[in-house]
C-alpha cells in the first residue's frame, strides 16, 4: 500500500489537461443537468416557490402514479430477487452443464430493451394473441388481456430484472474465497449446509444491493409500464411524466420537473445505499482462489437444468417466439398458419416505410457515434480518474454515475430544460437536432462505457509507467505507449456495451426526438400506439437481432478483457489469474470495476 501511495504522487504530477477533461465531462453530463432540474422544480417561472412543487406532487394523479410506481417496483423486486439469486446459485456453485451459454442468454434477455419485452408479453396473452390463436387456446373475445395493468407490469418487470439480480449476485459469489467452502467441507458440512451457513451470510450485502437495484430499475422503467399500463390507465410516474409532457407541452415543465425530481430522489437514495453495501467488502480475495462450483447435484442435476431452461424460456424464448408470431401474421389477431404466414411486415418496415428505415439509420448513427466517442473518451478519463485524482476519484466516479442512475425520462427533461432555449453565445438551440439525443446518450452511457476501462486500469502495472517516466517519457507518451494498448480492448468493450444499451432505448429519446431524428425505440412505440402491432413486432425482431449480434461480438472480445468486464462470464479464467499474480497487480478493484447493467437499462 505504501508503495502505491508513493508512486501515485510521483505520477500525479502534470496532466492538468486530463484533469480538466474529466472535470468538464462530469460537470456537463451530470452536475449541470441535475442542477437545472432542481432549479426548474424549485423555481418555476424564476421565483423560489416550493409550494408549486408540493402542489404538483400532491395532485390526485401524481399520488396515484406514485403509488403505482412503488407498488410495481416493490412487487416486481419480490419476483426478480429469488429468481435472479437462484439462477446465480445454480450457475455459480453447482455442477450444472452449459452454464456459459445459459449465463449469456440470461443476460441477453436484459439487454433487449424493455419496450421490446413488454410488446412480446403483450402479444403473448389475450384474445388476439397470435400464438394462442395458432394453438387454438385464445380466450374468447371480450376477455381482457391479463398482461395489461398492474399484474402484467409486475410480472414482466420481475422477469426482466431478474438478470440484474443475477449479475450482482454472481459478482458477490465470485468474491467469496474458495477457502471458505474448503474449510466447511473439512468440517463435514454438506453443500446445502455450506450454502445456508457460510455463503448466504457473506452474500447478504449483495442480496440487499441487488434488491435495491431491481427496485430502482422498476421505479425508473418506462417501456414496460408505457406499453402494459398506459392502455388501461394504470400510470407509473415515468409514464405520467411522458404523457403530461407529450400531450400538454413544455408549458407544464415546472410541474413535470417536480415529478421528475421525485423519481430521481427515490432512485438516487436506493442506488447510493446499494453501492455502499456492495462496496463494503467484508471478504478480501488477495491470493486465494475465487469460489468454484462445488456442489455435485447428482441426480438432481437434471432438475436444476430444467429450472434454468424454464427461466430462460420465460425470459427470452417465449418473448422472441411471441414477437416472431406477431410479426409473421398479416394482421394482429389472426392465427399463424401456412396460409397466413407473410413477410409483409418486415418488407413494410425495412423497405417501404421511410420513417422506420430512417429510424434504424438514426439509431445506428446516434448510438454508434456516441459509443465511438465514449470509447475514445474512456481511456484518458479512466487514466485521469485512477492515476491523477487521488481521493477525489470516489466523488468523481459517483458523480459520473448520476446520469445513469437518473431515470431516462428525467434525464430527458433535464436535457429539454438545458437545450430548449438557444444556447448563450452561439445562439443555437440543440432542441430538435440530433445533438440533444447524442448528448443525452453520452451523459447516460459514459459510466457504462467507463467500467471496463476502470477495471483495466486496475490491472496495469504502475511499475511499468514509473520506469517509462524515469526514462523521460511524458504523460502523452505514457498514455499512448503503455496505457492505450492495454486498455484498448476494454475501451472497445465499453463502447460496444454503450451501443447495445443506446441502440434500442426509448426512455431518453421518447421526449427528445423530432422530425427526422426518430430513433428505432420511438418508432416501435409509435407503431404499437398507432395500433400497427404486427409492424411493431417486425421492428422488435430486427432490434433483437442487432442486440444479439452486438452481444456475440462482445463475447468474442471476452478473452482480451479484464476479468469481470462482461456480466455474463461466470467462470474465472485460470490463465488470467496467473498473469495477474505475475504482474503484482493491485488487489481487485472495488465495485467501480465491474460492469453491471444497472437501473438505467430502462
Amino acid at each position: 500500500m505504501r508503495h502505491r501511495a508513493q508512486s501515485r504522487s510521483f505520477l500525479e504530477r502534470g496532466g492538468f489537461g486530463l484533469l480538466a477533461l474529466v472535470a468538464l465531462l462530469v460537470f456537463a453530463f451530470d452536475v449541470l443537468p441535475a442542477l437545472r432540474l432542481l432549479i426548474a422544480a424549485l423555481f418555476p417561472g424564476g421565483a423560489f416557490n416550493p409550494d408549486a412543487m408540493l402542489a404538483a406532487l400532491s395532485s390526485r394523479s401524481a399520488v396515484k402514479a406514485s403509488r403505482a410506481t412503488l407498488e410495481t417496483a416493490f412487487l416486481s423486486t419480490l419476483l426478480a430477487l429469488p429468481l435472479g439469486t437462484l439462477m446465480a446459485l445454480v450457475l455459480g456453485i453447482t455442477d450444472i452443464r452449459r452454464r456459459r451459454i445459459a449465463s449469456f442468454l440470461f443476460v441477453l434477455s436484459v439487454m433487449i430493451s424493455p419496450q421490446v419485452i413488454a410488446l412480446a408479453f403483450l402479444h403473448l396473452a389475450g384474445p388476439a394473441s397470435p400464438i394462442l390463436n395458432t394453438l387454438g387456446l385464445a380466450p374468447e373475445a371480450g376477455s381482457a388481456n391479463p398482461m395489461l395493468g398492474r399484474g402484467g407490469i409486475i410480472l414482466v418487470l420481475g422477469l426482466h430484472h431478474a438478470p440484474l439480480v443475477y449479475v450482482v449476485m454472481s459478482a458477490g459469489l465470485k468474491r467469496i474465497p474458495l477457502a471458505v467452502v474448503e474449510a466447511a467441507r473439512i468440517d463435514g458440512a454438506r453443500p446445502l449446509g455450506i450454502l445456508a451457513d457460510h455463503l448466504m451470510p457473506l452474500l447478504r450485502p449483495h442480496l440487499i444491493g441487488a434488491a435495491l437495484l431491481a427496485f430502482v430499475a422498476g421505479i425508473g422503467n418506462f417501456g414496460i409500464p408505457a406499453l402494459l399500463g398506459a392502455p388501461v390507465n394504470y400510470l407509473t410516474l415515468p409514464v405520467l411524466i411522458y404523457r403530461r409532457l407529450s400531450s400538454f407541452g413544455t408549458g407544464m415543465i415546472g410541474d413535470i420537473s417536480a415529478l421528475g425530481l421525485l423519481v430521481a430522489a427515490i432512485a438516487l437514495v436506493c442506488v447510493a445505499t446499494s453501492q455502499f453495501l456492495t462496496r463494503k467488502d467484508a471478504v478480501h480475495l488477495d491470493d486465494d482462489g475465487p469460489l468454484k462450483p462445488f456442489w455435485s447435484l447428482g441426480r438432481a442435476r437434471i432438475a436444476a437444468e430444467i429450472f434454468v431452461g424454464l427461466v430462460l424460456a420465460a425470459t427470452l424464448l417465449l418473448p422472441i417466439l411471441s414477437l416472431t408470431a406477431s410479426a409473421l401474421v398479416p394482421s394482429y389477431g389472426m392465427p399463424l398458419s401456412w396460409e397466413t404466414i407473410t413477410l409483409d411486415n418486415f418488407v413494410e418496415v425495412l423497405a417501404r416505410q421511410d420513417v422506420t428505415i430512417r429510424a434504424f439509420t438514426n439509431s445506428l448513427l446516434y448510438a454508434g457515434g456516441a459509443a465511438l466517442a465514449l470509447a475514445l473518451l474512456v481511456v484518458p478519463v479512466a487514466y485521469g480518474l485512477v492515476r491523477l485524482m487521488g481521493r477525489w476519484r470516489i466523488l468523481a466516479v459517483s458523480l459520473v454515475e448520476i446520469a445513469y442512475v437518473l431515470p431516462g425520462i428525467v434525464l430527458a427533461i433535464a436535457c429539454i430544460l438545458l437545450f430548449l432555449k438557444p444556447l448563450p453565445l452561439v445562439r443555437v438551440s440543440l432542441y430538435a437536432t440530433p445533438w440533444i439525443i447524442v448528448f443525452a446518450y453520452l451523459a447516460r452511457f459514459l459510466p457504462v462505457a467507463l467500467k471496463p476501462a476502470l477495471a483495466g486500469m486496475a490491472q496495469i502495472d504502475v511499475a511499468q509507467e514509473e520506469a517509462a517516466a524515469i526514462d523521460g517519457a511524458r504523460l502523452a507518451q505514457r498514455l499512448f505507449g503503455i496505457v492505450l494498448p492495454s486498455l484498448l480492448p476494454a475501451a472497445v468493450a465499453g463502447g460496444l456495451m454503450a451501443f447495445l444499451l443506446a441502440f434500442s432505448e426509448l426512455t431518453v429519446s421518447a421526449l427528445l426526438w423530432s422530425a427526422g431524428t426518430e430513433t428505432i425505440g420511438v418508432v416501435l412505440y409509435n407503431l404499437e400506439e398507432a395500433g400497427l402491432a404486427s409492424q411493431a413486432s417486425a421492428v422488435a425482431i430486427v432490434i433483437v437481432a442487432v442486440v444479439t449480434v452486438a452481444m456475440l461480438v462482445l463475447d468474442a472480445l471476452g478473452k482480451y478483457l479484464p476479468e469481470g468486464a462482461l456480466p455474463w462470464q461466470c467462470e474465472p479464467r485460470a490463465e488470467e489469474h496467473v498473469r495477474r499474480h505475475a504482474l503484482h497487480a493491485p488487489a481487485r478493484a472495488p465495485a467501480v470495476g465491474r460492469l453491471e447493467p444497472k437501473p438505467a437499462l430502462s
Binding site: K64, F248, S331
Partner: protein
C-alpha cells in the same frame, strides 16, 4: 475581377429561374396525425407528382404533434412546413397565434364555403366522423351513444383519449354539447367501466383483436379493416356523429413555401381527393364518391358543435376528461 462582379450576381439571379424550370424542389417536413401507412401513401403520391421535393413526415396524435410543435416554437426551431392534423379548431388556435401562412392562390372553387378558412389559412381535406365500432362476436349491437351506458356494454368499451387524439377532443366537445347533462354522459361511461387509452389506432386494435367488444372510433379505420376481413362493424349512432375535417395548413416559418403550397394544392386537387377515397376516407370534395361501406353522403347526420367554445375550452375539456378517466 470586374467580370466576376458582374457574372456572379447574374448567375445567382438565374438559379431560382432554373429551379423553377425544373419544378419545385427542396425539403418539406410534414407533421401529421394520419396513421403511418396513410401518411406514407399520401407522401408517395405527392412525390410522384413532384419528384424534386423530398418529404419527411412525423406522425403522432394531434395534441402530441401540437405539444411537440409548441416546444419547437419555444426553442426557435420549428421543424414543420406543413400540418395535416385532425381538426380545424386546433388550426384556428394556430391561426390566432399567428403561426400560419395563408395560401391565397389555393383553388377552392369546387368546395362549398365553410370547408376551408375564409382567409385561406387552412383547408379541410376530408370528413372523418366518430361513431361506434363493435366486434362481430358481440351479441349486443349498439345503435346510439346512449346504448354505451347500458349494462351489456359494461367493462367492454374502449375510447380514444383527447390527450392523444384530436378527433377525440372534438368528439368530447360535441357530445358534451349535445347530450343531456354534458359531462354527466362521460361520468356514466366511466361508471360503466369504460376505458380511455391512447389513440384511435389503439381502439381499433383492441376491438378487432377482441380485447374489448365496443369502441368509440373514427369511421375509416373499422370500415376499411372490415373490408380486409377483420371482425368489426361500424355504426353511425342515431343521435348523429361528431366530425373532424383533417385540415391542412402551411406554417408561417416554412423554409420552402413553394413546396408547401404544392402540397396543399395536391391534397385539394381531384387527384389528391381520389387518393383519400382510395384510402377509405370520405373526401372533402363534394363530387368525389364515398368509399364502399359508407351510407350516402347526405344520410350521415353530423351533430352540431360550437367551434369557438371548443377552442376556448380546449384545456378545460382535456382536464375534465383526464380527471374522469384518471389520466
Amino acid at each position: 475581377m470586374s467580370m466576376k462582379r458582374i457574372l456572379l450576381p447574374m448567375l445567382v439571379a438565374l438559379v431560382p429561374a432554373f429551379a423553377q424550370a425544373e419544378g419545385i424542389s427542396g425539403n418539406l417536413v410534414l407533421y401529421t396525425s394520419q396513421p403511418n401507412t396513410d401518411a406514407q401513401q399520401t407522401v408517395d403520391a405527392f412525390k410522384a407528382k413532384h419528384p424534386g421535393i423530398n418529404v419527411t413526415f412525423v406522425r403522432d396524435g394531434t395534441p402530441k404533434i401540437l405539444a411537440k410543435l409548441s416546444a419547437e416554437f419555444e426553442a426557435g426551431q420549428p421543424q414543420a412546413d406543413v400540418l395535416l392534423i385532425a381538426d380545424s379548431v386546433t388550426m384556428e388556435g394556430l391561426k390566432k397565434e399567428d403561426r400560419l401562412l395563408a395560401h391565397e392562390k389555393a383553388d377552392v372553387s369546387a368546395y362549398p364555403a365553410g370547408t376551408h378558412d375564409p382567409q385561406k389559412f387552412w383547408f379541410a381535406t376530408k370528413l372523418i366522423t366518430t361513431g361506434i365500432a363493435y366486434n362481430t362476436k358481440a351479441t349486443f349491437k349498439p345503435s346510439s351513444w346512449q346504448d354505451l351506458t347500458r349494462p351489456e356494454v359494461k367493462g367492454q368499451l374502449v375510447m380514444p383519449s383527447p390527450l392523444t387524439s384530436g378527433a377525440a377532443l372534438i368528439h368530447a366537445a360535441t357530445l358534451t354539447g349535445n347530450m343531456d347533462g354534458g359531462w354527466d354522459y362521460y361520468e356514466a361511461l366511466k361508471d360503466n367501466d369504460a376505458v380511455a387509452g391512447g389513440g384511435n389506432g389503439d381502439v381499433l386494435k383492441q376491438v378487432a383483436g377482441g380485447q374489448k367488444l365496443y369502441g368509440v372510433i373514427v369511421d375509416y379505420m373499422p370500415i376499411r379493416e372490415k373490408a380486409k376481413g377483420a371482425p368489426v362493424e361500424f355504426v353511425f349512432p342515431k343521435e348523429g356523429v361528431s366530425a373532424v375535417s383533417e385540415p391542412v395548413a402551411i406554417l408561417k416559418n416554412t423554409k420552402n413555401p413553394d413546396a408547401a403550397r404544392a402540397f396543399v394544392d395536391f391534397l385539394l386537387s381531384q387527384e389528391g381527393q381520389e387518393l383519400a377515397l382510395k384510402q377509405g376516407y370520405i373526401a372533402a370534395h363534394p363530387a368525389v364518391a364515398l368509399p364502399a361501406g359508407y351510407p350516402a353522403r347526405e344520410q350521415i347526420k353530423v351533430m352540431s358543435f360550437d367551434a369557438a367554445k371548443a377552442l376556448a375550452d380546449e384545456t378545460k375539456n382535456k382536464a375534465a376528461f383526464a380527471d374522469i378517466f384518471g389520466q
